[in-house]
């Protein structure tokens, strides 16, 4: 098992190296330069050249790349053009927002998606099954951006049930954030109003973000449960007189949830791309919004840094899923 993990970690090195080159090239291929993004039509040629010189943008590309790489390995991603703060600080500052949002979305997806898939399979061919299949198809195809916008328009703007921007009501003063996880901060500081407010701010963006994973999880669960229900061991269990609850727990779900676990892990990447759109619509100050704002401001260092870190996390999470899969399923256990 340890050798497996080490081997997988070593594979990470060329993957990240390749990614860093691709990212570096892509970001530099974007039109416009940070100097002009900073000064607009006021920029004179001399000023642009001076900024480029000071930023090292006038040096050969390979030198710029090597300098970038040398810093990255020391977790120095440079300074953000948008905020003039270290990129690493911006990541640390914005990560809790996206983490809170992602976890909530994934929870909604699992808590709703797994039972939905399960019951659809049990009632195979009924209206519930058809509704689940159709619903999940819509869930997969509906653009996150559109859904987020509609949710916000109906439930925040028109009905006023939920707040429509940010993580916390702006007029809520004297709120402390010791951890940066606003829901948790409310609990830790005993400020229940802030706690509840933070939860309300999560609801709509989390639902928008949850739709695609929810749809996929429901479909995979349904398919897996259908497969398992036809297995001999389920029939055996039923025929030897076990209660349906026991059959469901011990035989059906335990086996059916194996593929679902893998799928949940893979949803992480989708959640990140979804977060960019969802956070923009809800002005939710997380990693996704920061990346979205980095493009028009030509914030090279932030784009490179954030995408590199997200990609690393993605690879690591997949590794964890693979390892977990091995632990759950004796058939694929690596020795």
């Amino acid at each position: 098992m340890l050798r497996f993990i080490v081997r997988r970690l070593l594979v990470l090195v060329p993957v990240l190296l390749g990614l860093s080159i691709a990212l570096f090239a892509w970001v530099r291929a974007l039109p416009g330069s940070p100097a002009q993004a900073l000064l607009g039509e006021r920029a004179t040629q001399a000023q642009i050249e001076m900024i480029n010189r000071q930023m090292g943008l006038d040096q050969p590309l390979y030198e710029q790349y090597l300098r970038f790489l040398g810093k990255v390995v020391r977790l120095d991603f440079g300074t953000s053009v948008q905020t003039s703060q270290p990129v690493i600080d911006e990541m640390i500052r914005r990560f809790p927002a996206t983490f809170e949002l992602g976890v909530t979305a994934l929870l909604i997806a699992v808590v709703v998606g797994v039972p939905l898939g399960y019951f659809a399979a049990r009632r195979n061919g009924t209206w519930l099954d058809s509704a689940t299949i159709t619903g999940s198809l819509i869930g997969i195809t509906i653009p996150v951006f559109f859904l987020a916008y509609m949710l916000k328009y109906v439930f925040a703007v028109k009905l006023g049930w939920f707040p429509n921007t940010g993580r916390q009501e702006a007029r809520m003063l004297d709120v402390e954030h010791p951890t940066g996880f606003y829901v948790l901060d409310g609990l830790v500081t005993g400020n229940m109003a802030a706690f509840w407010d933070a939860i309300l701010h999560l609801v709509l963006p989390a639902i928008a973000l949850a739709t695609i994973p929810l749809a996929i999880i429901a479909r995979i669960t349904r398919a897996a449960v259908l497969d398992v229900l036809n297995e001999d061991y389920v029939r055996t269990a039923e025929s030897k007189g076990l209660t349906s609850g026991v059959v469901t727990r011990r035989h059906v779900l335990r086996n059916a949830l194996l593929p679902v676990t893998t799928v949940i892990g893979l949803q992480f990447g989708l959640l990140m791309s979804g977060a960019i759109l969802t956070e923009t619509v809800f002005a939710f100050p997380g990693v996704g919004k920061f990346v979205a704002d980095a493009i028009p401001t030509r914030d090279y260092p932030s784009l490179q840094g954030f995408i590199l870190v997200i990609a690393t996390l993605f690879v690591l999470i997949n590794l964890v899923v693979d390892v977990a899969y091995g632990l759950i399923d004796p058939r694929v256990r690596v020795r």
């Binding site: 004179t44 300074t79 003039s84 009501e169 809520m172 260092p301």
Partner: protein, 558 residues
């Protein structure tokens, strides 16, 4: 870094949150309580005022920023020696009660007495000169144009220029006389610098606070980084609001300053929140989460008004124009330039493509500024006149290259391609052959225009400060590659106007300059547009300002 210290807190928090989530995740239910989003604060004027910015401020030290959103926040906490009358471009006393100069080179300011900074220290002559010397002595990354843009624009270089491309400074020194008088000396006479001093970038900061918190800037490879804490964690000025906190990515919180020397702020808590998405700003206003925001989309104006929200018009100080490069034939021919001017239907374009209230420009500066001349040659739309001028010009089948930028909208040019198409059709109707040239706004387009490679091009200007010099002085006071002409009469007139300290004489000189410019026709100004500010139903006392210098201390709730 404070944020790095928070890394461990974040990690612990993450683990705890996961644990909470694992224990059932009951907190994610979709039940809702109508009205639960209402803030707990009491209503009336105690309710905090929330303004949505389109971007987070970069830093809260005016000397280090030139972007509008940073300056908007800074404006509430800081004051300069001079200011502008709320809602107008008129330069009025702020921390200086009066100023005078006999030669335009040495300017004596009399300072207001009894003014305290938010940290309790005194604002006096010594502190004022200290501020000027601080700017003048900027070093290293502080000299980067992305950092001290306005100092460089107004005063040229620094005590010791560290880059060969920097110009010598026009600032010579500041001398304190007693506690209430300072004299600022310049290298050459200038009257425009008084208006420039009203920029929030020339705000007076507390010397003690800078010494305590630090104002270092470092060039860390890719961008300037404000490593000193003054600009990010502890800004201290003399304004009606004082700094409370800046939760990055979330909000900047200010509070009314009890010791303010002028009329105190009416609303106690002032909060700025960045919402970069334009529709999201409008919706936040509609739902009552914010009390106001700038740059309302023209299409939303009627919707907001219909729903009972206030929409105020701002006569933005800008100009959109078509530039002519006289280094390229046939633009060196005045009759061809005039033919273009008569050929283009500016009224129709402004009416069709710009928000209601936008005005057709007759000269290179807006009518709000002193020196505007009602009597310039105006070149009303007249195709036959244009054809006649082409015939008189001696240029057979004149061909012009018309440039427009892609990938950009500017306040004076919301849709460059639409403008381009209208211009092209008009020019062709008058008998010009038009070659299409387009390029990305940055870097190619601005590059071509600034280096004199574009023949006829669409561009414009947003004012930095309310003075004719910021418009016609910037464009035409000396040879400019964009326009490619030498006209001593215009250059001399503008130089004389910039140096003239007598206000009446100065106005006349700029009026004469505008007449000369519009006769010579180095380009065709076509629009001064409007922008809109959206406000909550109960907001009172908000005065839109042509330079977006709105003063939030005047705002109250009805």
């Amino acid at each position: 870094m404070e944020a790095r210290k928070r890394l461990s807190a974040v990690a612990v928090g993450g683990a705890m949150l996961l644990a909470v989530a694992a224990c059932g995740g009951g907190g994610t239910g979709t039940s809702s309580t109508p009205g639960a989003t209402q803030p707990p604060a009491a209503g009336g004027s105690d309710k905090a005022f929330v303004w949505a910015l389109s971007a987070e401020p970069k830093a809260l030290d005016g000397a280090y920023v030139s972007d509008g959103e940073s300056l908007r926040v800074i404006r509430q906490m800081f004051e300069g020696l001079v200011g502008t009358k709320p809602g107008s471009t008129e330069v009025v006393p702020a921390l200086a009660t009066k100023w005078e100069s006999t030669d335009g080179t040495n300017w004596t300011f009399t300072l207001k007495q009894g003014v305290k900074f938010h940290d309790g220290t005194d604002f006096n002559a010594e502190a004022a000169c200290w501020n000027f010397e601080r700017w003048y002595n900027f070093k290293g990354a502080q000299q980067n144009p992305a950092v001290s843009y306005y100092w460089y624009t107004v005063f040229g270089g620094y005590a010791k220029n560290e880059d060969a491309s920097l110009a010598p400074s026009s600032y010579k020194g500041c001398k304190a006389e007693g506690t209430d008088k300072i004299t600022i000396s310049l290298a050459a006479p200038s009257a425009s610098f008084i208006a420039a001093l009203s920029l929030p970038s020339f705000s007076m900061v507390s010397p003690a606070a800078i010494q305590k918190s630090g104002d270092a800037v470092e060039m860390k490879g890719d961008a300037p980084e404000f490593t000193g804490k003054f600009a990010t964690e502890a800004p201290v000025g003399t304004g009606p609001y004082k700094f409370v906190s800046w939760q990055r990515g979330d909000r900047v919180t200010l509070q009314a300053f009890d010791g303010y020397h002028g009329e105190k702020a009416k609303i106690k808590d002032l909060i700025f929140r960045a919402i970069s998405d334009a529709p999201a700003r409008r919706q936040a206003l509609e739902s009552g989460e914010i009390d106001g925001f700038d740059q309302v989309e023209p299409a939303d104006v009627d919707t907001l008004k219909g729903a009972g929200f206030q929409v105020q018009e701002r006569s933005a100080l800008n100009v959109g124009y078509i530039g002519f490069n006289q280094k390229m034939a046939p633009l060196d021919n005045p009759k061809i330039r005039q033919a273009i001017a008569y050929a283009i239907n500016r009224e129709a374009l402004v009416q069709a493509k710009y928000p209601a209230g936008s005005r057709v420009a007759t000269q290179f500066m807006p009518p709000e500024l002193t020196g505007y001349n009602e009597g310039v040659t105006t070149y009303g739309y007249d195709v036959n006149k244009a054809k006649q001028l082409i015939a008189e010009s001696g240029v057979a089948n004149p061909t012009i290259e018309l440039w427009y930028p892609t990938g950009v909208t500017r306040p004076y040019m919301p849709d460059p391609k639409a403008n381009f198409e209208a211009f092209k059709a008009d020019l062709e109707a008058a008998g010009f052959k038009v070659t299409v040239k387009s390029a990305r706004w940055t870097p190619e387009y601005l590059d071509a225009v600034d280096n004199g490679k574009a023949m006829v091009y669409m561009i414009g200007w947003n004012a930095d400060f309310a003075d004719a010099d910021n418009f016609v002085g910037t464009f035409f006071q000396q040879f400019n590659k964009r326009f490619g002409f030498e006209n001593k009469e215009i250059f001399d007139k503008l130089n004389a106007a910039e140096q003239e300290t007598d206000a009446a004489k100065r106005t006349t000189l700029y009026q004469e300059a505008n007449k000369l410019i519009m006769d010579f026709l180095p380009g065709l100004p076509y629009v001064h547009n409007k922008s809109f500010v959206g406000l909550g139903k109960d907001v009172q006392g908000f005065l839109t300002d042509p330079l977006s210098n709105e003063n939030f201390s005047l705002v109250s709730r009805g």
